[in-house]
């Protein structure tokens, strides 16, 4: 069964790779918010043509109403 001397390090290597990528993912803050992404993907991005105009004009906002 010499083969295990090859397969085991291989498995460990794979495991290691995934472990490290897990750590990096965490550090990167990939898992800071585990709810929003699920909602995010539902949003289809519509093709953009021109920028939409402002919702409320600057002055309007100053007046408050």
């Amino acid at each position: 069964m010499n083969i295990v001397y090859f397969l085991i390090p291989l498995a460990l290597l794979l495991g290691g790779v995934f472990a490290v990528s897990f750590i990096i993912a965490v550090v990167k803050g990939q898992y800071d918010d585990l709810e929003t992404p699920a909602y995010k993907i539902l949003i289809n991005d519509e093709p953009k043509t021109k920028m939409a105009p402002d919702l409320i004009s600057r002055k309007d906002s100053l007046r408050g109403n």
């Binding site: 291989l10 498995a11 495991g15 490290v20 995010k40």
Partner: protein
Amino acid sequence: MEIKNTNKLESYSYDDDIVKKFILATVIWGGVSFLAGILIALQMANYRFNFGLPWLTFGRLRPLHTNAAIFAFAGNAIFAGIYYSTQRLCKARNFSDLLSKIHFWGWQAIIVSAALTLPLGLSQSKEYAELEWPIDIAITLVWVVFAINFFGTLVRRRERHLYVALWFYIATIITVAVLHIVNSIEIPVSLFQSYPVYAGVQDALVQWWYGHNAVAFFLTTPFLGLMYYFIPKAAGRPVYSYRLSIIHFWSLVFIYIWAGPHHLLYTALPDWAQTLGMVFSLMLWAPSWGGMINGLLTLRGAWDRVRTEPVLKFMATSLTFYGMATFEGPLLSIKSVSSIAHYTDWIIAHVHGGTLGWNGFLTFGMLYYLVPKIFKTELYSRRLANMHFWISTIGIFLYIISMWASGITQGLMLRAIDESGRLVYPDFIETVMRIVPLYWVRAIGGMLFLAGFLIMCWNLYKTWKQAPKNQPEEVYQAPALEKFVSEKTEDSHRRLERLMPKFTIFAFLAIVVGSVVEILPTLVMHTYVTSEKAITPYSPLELAGRDIYVREGCYSCHSQMIRTIPSDVLRYGPASKPEDSMYDHPFQWGSKRTGPDLARIGNKYPDLWHFRHMLDPRSVVPQSLMPEYSWLFNQKTNFSALNKKLEVMKQLGVPYTNEQISNAHLDAKLQAEKIASGLAADAQIKELESREIIAVIAYIQRLGKN
């Protein structure tokens, strides 16, 4: 942490052309694999469907069927889904359209070459890895192209968070690469033939380590990724628990890799390795069902739509099949269950529950969702889609149930022992006759599935036709990632972020280099069986015969592994030991017994019996299902190649002496003449000794005679 469209936007568009290509390929190859499947199903029911043609025999078509189903149908489906979803999840176009094209055409070329070589009998006989070495290399290259294209897209993404689906894709790409490379380490003998570096029990372990993980990382993780993307999209509601999906992913990744040995229970594989495989298979049950439940609960409150919406209908059902298969799998890997089920049609039922139900239906659901989306139109007909659903579902159930029945029947018959300790059904053929009717049912099931599939093809074709012509490629906008650093990422982390893509590549290289380094010892270490047990290697003629045995794919119906269970021992003789197959490059343990085991067939019957049996199996076993191998009687054995073969074998550690090698062909001829002379009286064939049949007989008569 996700980034929104901004007032300072980068414009980009999606490459849906490549998706369309892969969808088309999926459909075409799907048809091919299903047809092949039906043909070999019929061959099981009645030998005449082999048409007496070498390239249509079961032994050669079965690998074609499996490869087409896994790598052509499922493969193209995966690529279509991945390219579609990845672009959208990353808010970025594929890294390079050129690479995408290379990936597509490269992959199709590989499939075509497989479709040509396999029927010609160019096979390594390692299941799902039958393709010969040039194609293996091609696969590796194309896969690397795919990897670069995929990770490139990740690097260019405009969405900080990597959605769980992407993680499943990453795992797929990395692991499949490693598996493929490791399992395909072989030494070429000629352009079309090679011997794997591993032999016997080691080869078996590597093969099933690969075989199982091919299922895990080619038919499971990518489809789970697709599931996590397409089900929420189709249902229009977020996945039930995103947390759970993350846990699902990581636990799968950490457990999956070692379940392989459950394919080798009661074999010559050391006990501890078997138990290991069993335990890990059982552990797999938890994450798998976690994933399934998560998927199904995503549809909570949408069940009314599941009833009407074909897409959801297919996806929900596929999840159910996933649940079924991932429950059955661990069950089958329990030793006692395996002792009945292994080598029988139960396994076939299990496999097809997974492929037809889980992979097939998820793919269909995905196609019904994708095609209208991509062509900016509505599905041509829901009625047809629902029809497809019902017909295919009935088909699957006919298939699975008949194979369960057949598997369990045969399994029980084969192990039946009366109180006097003798086999109740000593003749293997008795058990076969019992299940032939079920083979017809299975074939019908398969046809129904195909029928449903064809309806889908028509439906999708009409959908495509009705699509508005020459649509302009739509332009989307999103900010570049670096522009907007969310407050979550501290500076120290940003370095890591830039490192991320590099890291993945390094990791991959590390694996490759590591593996190469670790292979060297296995290349030089031959003696895993202590020398006193060592057996004499095959004679050149036997080796030639063995290559023919491999070419004809005999292993797909005949195992060469007598398990350590009483019924096997009673039926076939003492249980196989590691040394029996110590020089088998590749191993021929097989995974299914449509015919009896051949591990100790040598000298059980006279040469003449085999001669007649190969010419017309029915002449010695009236009810036999085996095809006639008439061509073995006129094709000539290639003696001249034997020297090279022995040489390679020597490199691989088979103890041939140099003069054995140099005299290989003469040696072979001598042995051939000896056998031929014994048959001459009955066989009116000139130059009988040079025909392949002689070599085959030589090999068969050698089996178990050490």
